[in-house]
Symmetry: C2
Subunit: 358 residues, 2 copies
């Protein structure tokens, strides 16, 4: 049998429908389909990053049904059936189950890498090295997650409390911790025993299926009829909507990880962000740049701003720490620190029935 790293199947979970990047993100173009860096969408960049480890025929995407066509267009190298559309939202555990089924069809010995579609990593080589190590551990039956060394007391991420070392560079997960207060985050940062939960999981595909059967049997029962079918094939198509609809809505973290006893964590030191808000972009500007700028932008006497346009020219003067985001039909201006409050705008648009802008 080939080495663990040669048996990876990379499955990207691209079902997000976030509104935190409105007006760039819309129902038809959620965050993973946006381009914040270079000329590749976050989704494309996710596959670019693992390309040296994982050929196109071993890649999968699980996304929302209405995004299948645009995703296929962005990833023409993927084989037919590799982009699976969820007919409704069921959180991440059913997504993991579908990915495991698809991976097992590709390779009964597949090592499944579950990747969020919308993260940013500065050093892809370091990321791949962490995946290779995780794959080796996974091949022995472990469920492995990646943990990012914190660079600041972030309160927007979940944390992983480290347990004993189980191999060189690999620790047991003591426990998963929800988003902390800033005081607690400061303690974590000082203590050195907590990593950010990057939301990346590495485990054998058969181990994933087994864990789901064990911890969330309702998912196993619902999807069992799809076992052994090719995603996208006629028999799969005939049953998928009904079978997926029968799954309970539950997350991987809550449904599986919190119930498993022996999860391992590989440390990732690669410059990482979940690109969660406009504010996070302000911190990711290129060296020497005063602002994070994209598109047709003029910035005068301004700093720490996020300035993005996909349409009209955006000109700013004398701004500090402000996000200005413009598209052809809508624009947003707010202090980057208040990026979370974009949801208030989205709520107001819903209230006003402005479906054209959502």
């Amino acid at each position: 049998m080939s080495s663990a790293a040669e048996r990876l199947v990379c499955a990207v979970m691209a079902g997000g429908s976030g509104t935190r990047f409105w007006p760039l993100s819309r129902q038809a173009t959620p965050k993973q389909l946006l381009t914040f860096f270079g000329d590749r969408t976050l989704l494309q960049a996710t596959f670019d990053r693992v390309a040296p480890l994982c050929p196109a025929e071993r890649r999968l995407v699980v996304t929302a049904a209405h995004l299948v066509a645009p995703v296929q267009q962005l990833l023409p190298e993927l084989p037919a059936g590799a982009v699976i559309g969820e007919p409704m939202q069921r959180n991440t555990a059913p997504c993991m189950a579908v990915a495991a089924l698809a991976a097992l069809r590709l390779d009964p010995d597949a090592i499944l890498v579950l990747l969020p579609a919308d993260h940013w990593i500065a050093d892809p080589a370091a990321f791949r090295a962490a995946l290779v190590l995780a794959a080796q551990r996974a091949d022995g039956g472990a469920i492995v997650t990646l943990g990012v060394t914190p660079s600041h007391p972030e309160t927007g991420y979940g944390y992983i409390q480290l347990g004993p070392e189980v191999a060189s560079g690999v620790r047991q997960v003591q426990r998963f911790v929800e988003k902390p207060s800033v005081e607690v985050a400061l303690q974590y940062l000082a203590g050195g025993q907590h990593l950010w939960n990057a939301g990346v999981f590495v485990l054998r595909a058969d181990r994933a299926w087994q864990a789901l059967q064990q911890h969330v049997p309702a998912i196993g029962q619902a999807l069992q009829p799809l076992w052994g079918l090719d995603p996208g094939s006629e028999p799969w198509q005939q049953q998928f909507v009904e079978r997926f609809a029968a799954c309970p809505s539950i997350s991987i973290d809550y449904g599986v990880m919190e119930k498993e006893q022996a999860i391992e964590v590989v440390r990732l030191d690669a410059g990482w962000s979940d690109v969660g808000t406009w504010l996070s972009l302000a911190g990711m500007r290129a060296e020497g740049q005063e602002n994070f700028s994209r598109g047709d932008v003029i910035a005068i006497d301004s700093s720490d701003c996020v300035l993005i346009s996909t349409g009209p020219l955006v000109a700013v003067v004398g701004l500090q720490g402000i996000a200005v985001v413009a598209t052809a039909d809508a624009m947003l201006v707010l202090p980057a620190e208040r990026s979370q409050d974009v949801r208030e705008v989205v709520a107001e648009l819903q209230k006003r029935g402005r479906k054209d802008l959502l």
Copy 2:
């Protein structure tokens, strides 16, 4: 002969090409053609205000040649020839001379009211009352200007220092004062002997022509061949460009007013602004409104802002004192206090050759 107020000819000086309201104002749509209040442009509102005093056939506009057609479209009630296009910029004294010539053709006893095209007045009735008083004084040979009671220590306006009273409600002008420092403006405000120069002049048309002949003879000589011709008529057209080009470029204030001995000032208490910058609009929002808003705007937790869109939806959160102005092809964001710095943006656009946006 009919009363002075019945012999008014209102000439609006609409040659401005300001960039202070970029991106709303462009070369093709300077400030006077913009709509900040209600549904009338500043130019239209200027005539609306004097309509009860001055029928359409006694109205004139002197504007830039490329604005003649749009101005005619905005003011369809004006007779042919009433909109005169200056073929090049020559400041305001030649504009006054052209207006005087045109007014004299309409009525040899015309009392000429020279009005800026781009001001805002809260109480039009009070404004008209001031004009009637000014017209009565002008009929006796006086050159009359309107002076606005200051409401705050404005440093963006010229001031008029008051001399002795010459009639009820009419004072001699002691002198015209350039834009003062804030310290001096505070003294003026406390002292009560200074009014804002509203840039409105009222004088007999023949007096205007005589004053120009006397103080700026080069203008008199240049335009003399047009005497007695109808603006827009064939003979006028044949000579106008050449004759206007021969005029020196000089302002009414510098060329005429500072050289006249006995100018009178009528006090105007009508709520007045020259609508000079985005900041001035912030102060002109409707009672009870937190922001000055126009167009498709959502403002959450924001105050003292100027929020204008003629195109895309503009959504703002958590802003204080910021101007956000959006059009279909360009948008501007800056602290309202820094409204003057829009010129830096315009300069940058010129540098980048972005004529499409100027």
